[in-house]
Symmetry: C2
Subunit: 329 residues, 2 copies
């Protein structure tokens, strides 16, 4: 059933029907009697306007795009949930895509999202995504970056205080008397990883302790990572504590420790919480990122920019929290 057929059936013009349906009867000077007749009929047949035609005429898609590294990850999943839940309430739909850290994929994903005419994008950028992101800004499409910065581009941004959170982790280990702290991170140049790493090296050099760092291949799978961690642990028998810069690295590390039968030999702390960390023996302390808050701030920024495109770009840094799970650590 189209608006044309409705108009024909009621012997009115389709412009009249359109105005009435969209609550613009008054502005279109349609009499109340006619408006009611139209509304009644529309209700009766359960008319739903064709979304393609509507979008074509209005230029609006009521859709936003969410680009994350991996939707099945325990950090991005809850963010995706929150975003969709909130946006649905205000009449938006969400396209999602996972870059899996691939530069190439990241760029094509941005391109196809733009082709789909999303009204806004919330993006966890891959490396070298700047050109694509600039294309978004050039098209005046609201954009919020989260989790890590996109090079040194000026964008709206939401993230946790990675440096500060990382300091909390290192301090916590030091306060509990651990001095041989190994850091396990990946080799990416992403800002959040750099920040976490820097806090560690700064603090250790400041205290006069030795920094022992393992940089894992970002693209390696979990098994390979665990293998490399095993080698690292064997080569550094002096370590009494391990700091993992993300939870999936920590999981790989725990598997490595288990494989070496060294359970309980290390004080362990991780950036990012995980559902089961509190159930492990001993439980794993961590620096927690407030996921719902990150998601909500991203939405806020996005709609702020939509409302006032000329507002200056904003950076929101959310403090992270230390969760202590053991007495010894």
């Amino acid at each position: 059933m189209s608006i044309n057929e409705i108009a024909k059936h009621l012997n009115v013009s389709k412009s009249t029907v359109s105005l009435v349906i969209n609550g613009k009867a008054e502005q279109g000077r349609i009499s109340q009697a006619l408006a009611e007749r139209i509304l009644t009929y529309v209700q009766e047949i359960g008319y739903k306007p064709n979304v393609f035609a509507k979008s074509l005429a209005t230029g609006r898609s009521h859709t936003i795009g969410l680009i994350v590294e991996n939707i099945s990850d325990s950090f991005y999943g809850p963010i995706a949930l929150h975003i969709e839940k909130y946006l649905r309430k205000i009449g938006y739909h969400v396209f999602y895509s996972s870059t899996l850290g691939s530069i190439e994929l990241g760029n094509t994903i941005v391109e196809t999202m733009l082709d789909k005419k999303v009204e806004g994008l919330i993006v966890c950028p891959t490396n070298q995504m700047e050109t694509s992101l600039e294309a978004i800004q050039k098209q005046q499409i609201p954009l919020v970056i989260f989790d890590r910065k996109a090079g040194d581009m000026a964008t709206n941004y939401v993230g946790t205080d990675n440096y500060g959170g990382s300091l909390l982790a290192v301090d916590h280990l030091l306060e509990n008397g651990f001095q041989q702290i190994g850091l396990v991170t990946n080799d990416s140049t992403q800002s959040q990883m750099i920040d976490r790493l820097n806090a560690y090296t700064d603090k250790l050099s400041q205290e006069g302790f030795h920094a022992t760092i393992l940089r894992l291949d970002f693209q390696a799978d979990a098994l390979e990572k665990a293998e490399q961690i095993k080698v690292f642990l064997r080569e550094n028998p002096q370590l009494d504590a391990l700091y993992f810069t993300t939870n999936y690295l920590c999981i790989a590390g725990l598997k490595a420790i288990q494989a070496l039968n060294r359970e309980g030999s290390y004080a362990i702390i991780s950036f990012d919480d995980h559902e089961l960390f509190e159930l492990l023996q001993p439980a794993i302390s961590c620096v927690e990122q407030p996921v719902a808050q990150i998601a909500q701030e991203a939405i806020n920024l996005l709609f702020k920019q939509k409302k006032s495109p000329d507002l200056p770009l904003q950076q929101v840094i959310i403090p992270s929290k230390l969760i202590k799970r053991k007495s010894t650590c």
Copy 2:
């Protein structure tokens, strides 16, 4: 830049441009020389057809909808990842939505997905979703249900062999000498839960053992569930083994056990694996659902129906696998 402007600039008609762009130059009897001239210009200016206009004209959205219970869950997340990854390759985009088990939400989500003109739907149904699902079928939109059945509706369906998988779990406990097996499930009437429960009660009654069942409020949060499990464990001190019908119930159960200081007192098995189950002490055995395979089968069924709408509806049951993680259990 619109197709009209291109046509004007090249002094040709827009129909010619459209035919050439869509590779129908031959069928439209456009000379190769003109076709090349058009293609060159189109490339030069980087023209992208307006997706709204294209969809309006063709009736196609190249979009499918994915409705799950919770996108951030460790079962649905990987399914969402796989579906999006695969569909992107063949030029489709994916809208997602989480029902969170709410009947009301489930129905409105289906409605808005239909309004968006998705070309297909992959749905993990809530209770009482039948009317909405029938609306989908009436509109001839390809539909695949997964994880659980939608009442006794005839639909395409993909799921694991819940009864068989559940038998594997119970058998495994029995084979290892445990005879006082408690079952922790939720109170939903969803088919997959019923199947898992039935395998348990059937097997126990067949072996002449007593069934001890806790049905948790489906909507309760994790903390409440853990509390109820604590009560259950206190009231049933005879239990030597626990079978949880999903991994999140198992997690709640582990927390309850920890709170009661009864670690190691039970043989534990769970339906659905979890990233960290293998790291726990003792590690948790489970019945694993092959997530990627479920996702791929759902896609296959969807596109089969798209291709041949009159094909009979299909049910694909994928065998589940027992993962043994301890010597004692």
